[in-house]
């Protein structure tokens, strides 16, 4: 069983060139930030390293950090420019009984994250959901299409903080 700072040390010594940081201030759990384009390689390491054996991806979630510039539109609504979208990975090792949380942040204007579907199969639908709700593109995902919203939904990504619902969908009025 490893503590978060031991896991951080292992990661740092194996990926010396990558900017890997830990935020220990979060009240719930320490969170390790890693670069979005390297998460697949880091995932393989976390899964296969004898001391870590993170065989289970418990959850993968998208988050809209809403930390960009907020612009008021003519109709009083707000849109957000710049800033980041993030993906959080909650890992668990069923044999060694330890846990860790990873985070990657990517630019809101072109949100691209490497897929971890090849590392943990669980990630397949979770990444599709994060794509569906936040528009985060998972590079090298085998089937990145919408999962909950209609396949032909073209009105944007509903869980983004500046999302606006369309007036109509296929002739049906959407607002109350």
């Amino acid at each position: 069983m490893k503590k978060a700072d031991e896991i951080l040390e292992l990661l740092k010594s194996n990926f010396p060139d990558l900017p890997i940081e830990m935020d220990s201030e979060t009240p719930t759990e320490p969170i390790i930030s890693v670069p979005p384009k390297e998460i697949d390689k880091i995932g393989v390491f976390l899964r296969d390293n004898e001391e870590l054996l993170f065989d289970s991806l418990m959850c993968l979630s998208g988050v809209d950090d809403a930390n960009g510039e907020k612009i008021k539109e003519a109709d009083e609504s707000e849109s957000i420019k710049g800033g980041t979208l993030s993906v959080y990975y909650h890992l668990h090792s069923t044999s060694l009984k330890h846990k860790i949380t990873l985070k990657v942040s990517t630019e809101r204007e072109s949100p691209e994250v490497e897929s971890v579907e090849g590392v943990w199969k669980t990630a397949d639908w979770h990444e599709r959901e994060a794509y569906d709700m936040f528009g985060i593109i998972f590079l090298n995902h085998p089937n990145l299409q919408r999962i909950l919203m209609p396949y032909d939904w073209d009105a944007g990504y509903p869980l983004r903080k500046d999302y606006k619902n369309p007036e109509f969908y296929k002739g049906m009025k959407v607002p109350y």
Binding site: L148, M149, P150, P158, Y163, N165, Y169, K170, M172, K173, V174, P175, Y176
Partner: protein
């Protein structure tokens, strides 16, 4: 007035109007499209089971819209599902009836404001005969809704449709 409440004027001959006979036949065997959408569907299933016994009113679930007389919209109608509901409704033979069960299908329910994916009332795509309020309605409430629908069918006329 029910058909069989009338007196027999001769042994085993009942005289009635064709309209009353048709309405009586119709309202006594409302076959239901076996179709549930969300949490409300659990209450609908409970209504079908032995304790509340939908069957005593002639309501039995059918697996195909072609054999069904009524469709109970029991739950959250998402925009994605609304298109399918419309198609199912169009596949049912006339005369057909709709009970909208629960707040979701009446008006969007808990999703009325922030439900980006929910249709705010199934009556935006198909015509509803009876609305049953509740979240979810108890089986008694659904039975009441069915009795209201039967009342409505009882007063239907061949020359002009009352609905």
């Amino acid at each position: 007035m029910g058909l069989l409440d009338q007196e027999f004027s001769d042994s085993n001959i009942v005289i009635t109007k064709a309209e009353d006979l048709l309405n009586w036949a119709r309202l006594s065997s409302l076959w239901q499209l076996g179709f549930g959408l969300a949490c409300c569907a659990i209450e609908m299933m409970a209504t079908s089971a032995s304790h509340y016994d939908f069957d005593r009113f002639g309501v039995i679930p059918r697996p195909s819209p072609r054999q069904s007389d009524i469709i109970i919209i029991s739950g959250t109608v998402t925009l994605k599902m609304a298109l399918r509901i419309k198609r199912l409704y169009e596949q049912m033979p006339d005369p057909k009836y709709i009970i909208s069960m629960g707040s979701c299908s009446n008006c969007g329910g808990p999703y009325w404001e922030h439900g980006y994916h929910v249709l705010k009332g199934v009556d935006r795509v198909i015509p509803v005969d009876v609305y049953v309020p509740g979240c979810p309605p108890r089986p008694e409430a659904l039975l009441e809704g069915l009795l209201k629908l039967q009342e409505k069918i009882r007063t239907e006329s061949l020359s002009k449709k009352s609905a």
